[in-house]
């Protein structure tokens, strides 16, 4: 059995401690809130300390942090599927009670169980979900290629239409800010595509002039993107990063508890 320091320390922190916390929690309800926050502190502090402390027990190959990274890849897999439970709950409730729009829940659950079932079969049978040894695709891949990809692409393709109608019916230069926005938008749009070449296509004599102007417009767009846009984005990044850093510290130190469904006071 491999009892490297990293693994043993993590097991103590994230298995023994929670078990003790849960056991005590049955008797002392107050611990049901404080216990998780105590354990969360270690889970949050290890990646941060490891950035500044290269010691082997923490950041080395057999240390705590690399092993914790490996653990949390697995937990992320489970967490991604969490949402499915309440989708199934809502769906089955809607169908059972014939609530408005229940046929669509039937369609949703069918799509989920068929695709998910084929995925589970791929795992159990060892076929996997990509291609079979003889090169042909698994049924899961067939559904993914012919249902999942086109559906995802098309639903998002609707946005181009909404964009166009909003551009005509709603985008107004109603104040200075909106005016600058629309002017910058039009400049960038005309610099990112060969617009002038397109307009000059039916008039050959104009084409060299159009090409030159288009080149200049392209340079202007590059400048707008690199300097004014780059500066504003840099300012937004610094502000947002400080906000996220502050939220991270509050959460790790247990000041922020909302994510556990605990009110401020509890």
């Amino acid at each position: 059995m491999n009892f490297e320091f990293g693994r043993v320390a993590l097991v103590v922190l994230f298995a023994v401690l929670p078990v003790v916390g849960i056991a005590l929690g049955f008797f002392a309800p107050a611990l049901r809130a404080r216990g998780p926050l105590f354990v969360a502190f270690f889970a949050g502090i290890i990646p941060i300390l490891s950035l500044y402390i290269p010691k082997r027990f923490l950041s080395g190959e057999a240390g705590m942090r690399p092993r914790l990274d490996q653990w949390l890849i697995i937990v992320a897999g489970f967490a991604l599927l969490l949402g499915i439970v309440n989708v199934i709950q809502n769906g089955t409730r809607k169908v059972a009670r014939r609530e408005k729009g229940w046929p669509y829940s039937v369609v949703l659950l069918t799509g989920l169980f068929i695709t998910g079932g084929l995925g589970i079969w791929g795992a159990i049978s060892g076929q996997g979900i990509t291609s079979l040894p003889n090169g042909s695709g698994t049924p899961f891949k067939w559904i993914a290629d012919n249902f999942f990809l086109p559906l995802q692409a098309t639903i998002f393709a609707l946005l181009a239409f909404f964009m166009a109608s909003a551009a005509f019916r709603a985008f107004r230069a109603r104040n200075t800010e909106a005016t600058i926005l629309l002017v910058a938008g039009i400049l960038v749009m005309s610099g990112r595509v060969p617009l002038l070449e397109f307009l000059a296509a039916p008039f050959p004599p104009l084409q060299p002039a159009a090409a030159g102007a288009s080149q200049a417009l392209g340079k202007l767009t590059e400048w707008i993107m690199q300097t004014p846009n780059g500066a504003a984005q840099s300012g937004i990044i610094i502000g947002a990063a400080l906000g996220a850093a502050s939220m991270a510290i509050r959460l790790i130190l247990g000041i922020e508890k909302g994510y556990l469904g605990l009110g401020g006071g509890e």
Binding site: A43, W71, I74, N146, E177, G239
Partner: protein, 213 residues
């Protein structure tokens, strides 16, 4: 060339048309497509996560190499108790798993916030303005003015006096140029999707259907 379109392309084409039907009116075909997409994408999550993460990183190591990966039992169990939140009485037990998951990822995210964002962007915003030529003005001066005026715009702890109000105005102008640029880029992004779908409909479905090319 006999018109030959395989079943898969037919399905993809019909689903594409059903989805586009929302443009005319919200109708059952669109709602069908939307629900099917919601179901299939969740099923896709199940298949992908199970085969690509849980099997190779958790289950196979535990089965084939238990001595080296015995400790993987812990993340496996933590993953399972995440789902106990749906149990009415013992829901609070799942808080331990959720706390470890959320705190670890926000801790890891913290390591990129100051180290990977604030400091490098600050280093970049420090530009020499020693000699006044076109490049310094249009690249260094405008850039530095943009970064710091935007920062002052998002400053809330002091009432805006005459100076800071004017600097904040400059900041909002920089923000508007960057929003305009973002709007211009978004047009290209959304339209690209539509081009992709129309390409599929025309070249992979209609053309073969009528035996063109």
């Amino acid at each position: 060339m006999t018109p030959h379109v395989d079943l898969g392309t037919w399905i993809a084409a019909l689903l594409t048309l059903f989805a586009l039907s929302f443009l005319y009116k919200d109708n059952p075909l669109f709602r069908f497509t939307e629900s099917l997409f919601a179901g299939v994408s969740l099923g896709y999550y199940v298949g992908t996560t199970l085969n690509q993460t849980l099997m190779p990183n958790l289950i196979n190591p535990l089965i084939h190499d238990f001595n080296q990966s015995w400790d993987l039992l812990v993340p496996g169990l933590l993953g399972v108790i995440l789902y106990m939140r749906y149990l009415p009485k013992a829901g609070w037990v799942s808080r331990y798993a959720l706390a470890i998951y959320v705190a670890y990822y926000i801790g890891l995210d913290f390591t990129r916030r100051l180290h990977g964002e604030v400091l490098p962007q600050l280093a970049r915003a420090i530009v020499p303005l020693s000699h006044f030529d076109a490049h310094t003005i249009f690249y260094s001066l405008v850039f530095a003015a943009g970064v710091f005026s935007v920062l002052i715009y998002f400053f809330f702890s002091k009432e805006q006096d005459v100076v800071t109000r004017r600097v904040a105005r400059v900041g909002i102008y920089f923000l508007m140029v960057s929003f305009g640029a973002a709007f211009g880029f978004t047009v290209m992004g959304r339209v690209a999707l539509l081009i992709g779908r129309m390409n599929f409909l025309i070249l992979n479905w209609i053309y073969p259907l009528f035996g063109i090319r």
